[in-house]
Every structure is written in C-alpha cells, then in structure tokens.
C-alpha cells in the first residue's frame, strides 16, 4: 500500500496550515480530526515534516560537516576534562551551544538581507545572534562584515565566522573590530574562538597584546569596565586591586580550552604595537551602560597604558578568581617578567612571546 490515503478535505486543511492560511474554524476542525483519526495524524505528521524539511533544504549551504572535522590538536582526554570553574565551564558550554545553534541558524536562514554593504573587503560574517543588542550600528545574522568594521555589542551574543573559517562567539558587552579574515581586535569584553586547522594563526589583538591561535579553542577576556567588574566579583577588593601573586594586576585573560595559543604581550610602555596604537575605540566607544562616566575608559594596569587613551584611568584590577585545579591553561598577559621561553621578537618589535600549552594547570605568566 504505497498510495497514502489522503482525504481531500484533510489535504486542504493541511495545505492551509503550512501556508499560514488556516482559519480558526478550520483549525478546530483539524484538531478534532487529529484527535479521532489515526490516519489523519499520519498525514499531519507527514505534512509538517515535509514543511520543516523543505525549510531546511532551501537554506544556505549547510556547513555542518565543518563542526565534525576531527581536530588533530584535540585529544579525548582533554575533551572530557572538567574545567575548573563554573564561570569557565559556562563559557565553554555557551560556546558549544551557540556553535550548535549558530550552525543550525546558518543552515536555515541564509543572508537574505544582505543590505547595503559597502563594497570593501569582506572578512567575516555574522552567522548567529542570540538576544543581541547593538550599541552601535546594528547588524543581523547573515550580514557580511568587512575588514575594519567595528562591532559594538551591548548585550547578548553574536557568532561570527571569519573567512578563514575561524569562529568567534562574542559575548556582550563587547567591542570587536574585524581586522581581516584572520584577525580581530577585542577592545573590551569576552570572546570564545574556535579555530579549525585551516584557520591556524588566527589572531586576537587586545589592548595588552596579541593572542595567536595555533589550532585551538580559546577564550579572551578584556576587562574594559573595572567598575562593573567589581560589582560582579565578590572577591574583588574595593580599591587598589588585589594583586595576583603579588604581581601587578592583569586586564586581559586568555583561556585555552584546548590546543595551544601563542601570546605576544605588548612591551611595557612601548606603545609600539600598531594594532594597539591604531585602535580607534577611544573615539567611537559608546558608553557601555551602565558604565560610570568617570571610569568608562578601559581600565588598565598602570604599567600597560593604552597608547591612544589619555582619559582618566582606574588602576583597580581583577582578582585571580579562577582556582586552578584542572588541566586548563590560564594565561594572564600582562605580568612583570617573562617566565616562559622567549622567542624571537615579532614583526611588531618589542613583544615577548610565550606559549600556553595544554599541559597541566598553571598560571602562566609571560
């Protein structure tokens, strides 16, 4: 029996349903029918499935296989390793969730609203937004992002796929500038990057240094708002800032979930990093509410002043909140002295580099 037993009236109701044209009385008729008639339910399930599958089918090129590519840098022992703090595990969880959802959304809703993108150099694309509110120009899922474009995310999160295939999930409030297909600049806020092999070398510039991916999943956090930070963190001391191991406080954190990254720190007071010096954020930064005006500037350790900023600056800092008990690597970029092997200076000159390896838990300072 290959011919489905479609009843004309039922077909009409189902057709109206999937086309959004069912009247209230027809809706009642349909549900009554479904309640009593098993073959009607069978037809209903078939119609709804077809509707859903057609929607999926007529979406953008499905990128799902990318996610399942085995990453040579990931060992299973690492994957199942519990992370040390709630905050971090939430971040990772969020990454996984947003990735899954982002991919789904991407496969369903192509960039039908390509809008008026100025013909510059496309470098990335917004693939998914979750409750995203923009402080600056608003962008939508599917929008292409050009090199140099700046994103001011007030709240929510945004998933961005760079043309190099690196994926970044930005969590608001955050300020991110797309540098090119393989680099971005995080002036403040939090991001998680997942970098597949082809995109190795993906860079995240921060006011304090540059994180270069070597095939990983990592998170970068730039504390741009110490005042808000203080209210969020119970361990935060009111002033002066708790010192991390007696050292100077840090404002940029790198969390390597898997694999390894290379971290290049801007030299103390050098201001030589072009990436930092050219950071336009001091002009464009909106107030990330509810930042207090007097402290809205990015908070820094006084030894790492932002080269382009002269506004008032607080020296309060973040405490070392994450207790280190897992194999996760936590690197704090600014610290007084290099304790890891030094490498040749980068093209930008006075950088010191270090590698955070996925080996044991350590506060590695560079």
């Amino acid at each position: 029996m290959t011919e489905p037993q479609y009843n004309d009236r039922l077909d009409h109701l189902l057709s109206a349903l999937v086309d959004g044209a069912v009247s209230p009385s027809e809706a009642d008729e349909l549900t009554d029918r479904l309640r009593t008639d098993a073959s009607a339910r069978q037809a209903y399930i078939a119609w709804m499935t077809l509707d859903a599958r057609l929607r999926v089918r007529h979406a953008a090129p499905v990128k799902i296989p990318e996610l399942t590519l085995p990453d040579p840098h990931i060992s299973h022992s690492t994957i199942h390793n519990p992370y040390s703090t709630f905050r971090i595990s939430r971040l990772v969880l969020a990454a996984a969730v947003v990735l899954a959802i982002g991919i789904l959304a991407y496969s369903f809703w192509p960039g039908t609203n390509e809008q008026t993108v100025v013909k510059q150099i496309p470098a990335a694309k917004i693939v998914h937004l979750a409750d995203a509110k923009w402080a600056g120009a608003s962008t939508q899922a599917g929008d292409t992002l050009n090199a140099g474009q700046q994103l001011l995310l007030h709240s929510g999160s945004a998933e961005i796929t760079f043309n190099s295939q690196a994926r970044v999930i930005l969590e608001g409030p955050a300020e991110l500038t797309i540098v090119d297909a393989a680099a971005c600049r995080l002036a403040g806020g939090k991001l998680v990057a997942r970098v597949p092999d082809p995109a190795k070398g993906f860079k995240v510039h921060t006011p304090d240094g540059t994180v270069t991916d070597l095939g990983t999943e990592f998170g970068v956090y730039v504390d741009a708002r110490a005042d808000q930070q203080a209210s969020r963190e119970e361990e935060q001391q009111p002033s002066g800032g708790p010192q991390f191991n007696g050292k100077q406080p840090a404002v940029t954190e790198v969390h390597v979930f898997r694999g390894q990254v290379e971290v290049a720190r801007s030299e103390v007071g050098s201001g030589k990093s072009e990436a930092i010096a050219q950071n336009p954020t001091s002009d464009l930064r909106p107030s990330f509410p509810p930042a207090k005006p007097s402290r809205s500037a990015i908070t820094k350790s006084s030894r790492f002043p932002p080269p382009t900023r002269s506004s008032s600056r607080s020296t309060s800092s973040r405490a070392s909140r994450e207790r280190c008990s897992s194999r996760m690597i936590l690197s704090r970029i600014p610290s007084p002295r290099p304790t890891m092997r030094s490498r040749a200076p980068s093209v930008r000159g006075s950088f010191r580099r270090a590698r955070a390896r996925d080996k044991g838990c350590a506060w590695r300072t560079i």
């Binding site: 290959t2 011919e3 489905p4 479609y6 077909d11 057709s15 109206a16 349903l17 086309d19 959004g20 044209a21 069912v22 009247s23 209230p24 027809e26 809706a27 349909l30 549900t31 479904l34 309640r35 098993a38 339910r41 069978q42 209903y44 399930i45 078939a46 119609w47 709804m48 499935t49 077809l50 509707d51 859903a52 599958r53 929607r55 999926v56 089918r57 007529h58 979406a59 799902i64 996610l67 399942t68 299973h76 199942h80 390793n81 519990p82 992370y83 709630f86 595990s89 990772v92 969880l93 996984a96 969730v97 990735l99 899954a100 959802i101 991919i103 789904l104 959304a105 979750a130 979930f257």
Partner: protein, 179 residues
C-alpha cells in the same frame, strides 16, 4: 563540585549536530508551525547541551532529544499562548502525536536524500516556487503577485507540489503504509 559542568564532548556535539534536522521536523510537528519551531529548537539545544552527561550513549539520541523537545514545546505553548496559526495541539493530543511522530517521518534517516531526489522529479517552475516560498520565506500572496497569478492558483500549485513530494518520499522511505 556540582557547579563544575564539563563541556559537552565532541562525540556528543556530533550527535547533536546530526540530529538537528530531525529534531527540527519533530518540533515543527508538535508546534504545527515551522516558523515558531526555531525558537523551541534553540531552547531544546541549550537543555541538551546542559544535560549532555545524562545521555546514555547506548540509547537512541533522537528519542532522548525528542523527550526534551516535547517538554520544551509544552513550555513554549504555556508561555506564548500565541495562536498565529490557530492550531495548538492540546497536551493529550500532543503526547499522542509525539509518540507517533517519533516512529515516523521526522527522524527518518534517509529523509533528506529522498526529498532531494523527489524534488528532481518536480517541474522546474514548481521547484522555483518552492524556493521562493522557503528560501525567501515569501508568502503565498507575494508569490502570486509577483507572477501575476491568483493566490488560490499558487496555493493549489504548492499543494500539488507538496502532495507529489509526499507520495514520492513515502514511497522511497517505505512510510505512509499501514500504520
């Protein structure tokens, strides 16, 4: 230590990813609305990721995910009470349909392939019209207007296309028989 939830494993994410389309179809069926399904889908994915350790790998991922999706649909219905399409399955009916749907089309593994080859059999204009309806999410009215046709005419065309697809797919999948 209860607050230290490990991240979902790679294997889990793979299964989750593989299940997305089936899950979407399942949720669409329970909601009677493929537009609203994405919201519930998102909520479901979040819960699945949160509870990933509870999943017994020896059991069916689809069935596990469907159970959570069912719960999320009920939650959505309670919260929304929006009747944009006027069809809301009450809880009893929803349970019945959820059970029947799990054994039917939504999770059929070869559905995508069957759909693809059945689409090939449709006429070019029919495929184009489906593309407008689904890719661009155009309303039937908009499609009709653009083609200088009546809404009724386009409705009938879409109906024929869908019915032809259903027959073709059910033939390929061996569904639609004597259940």
């Amino acid at each position: 230590m209860s607050e230290t939830a490990p991240a979902p494993s790679e294997a889990f994410i793979r299964q989750l990813t593989a299940a997305q389309h089936g899950l979407f179809a399942f949720i669409t069926t329970l909601l009677a609305d493929s537009n609203a399904a994405s919201d519930v889908m998102q909520e479901t994915n979040i819960v699945l990721c949160r509870k990933w350790q509870e999943f017994d790998a020896r059991r069916s991922f689809d069935a596990w995910a469907a159970g959570i999706a069912r719960f999320k649909v009920l939650e959505y219905q309670r919260a929304e009470r929006r009747r944009t399409r006027h069809v809301v399955l009450d809880q009893d009916l929803l349970e019945v349909i959820a059970t029947e749907a799990q054994a039917a089309e939504p999770f059929a593994p070869d559905y995508a392939a069957a759909l693809e080859s059945c689409l090939e059999r449709l006429g070019k204009d029919m495929r184009k019209m489906l593309g407008e309806r689904y890719t661009e999410n155009q309303s039937v009215e908009a499609i009709a207007q653009a083609r200088g046709r009546s809404t009724q005419g386009v409705t009938v065309s879409l109906f024929r296309a869908r019915r032809s697809l259903l027959e073709c797919i059910q033939g390929k999948l061996g569904l639609g028989g004597n259940r």
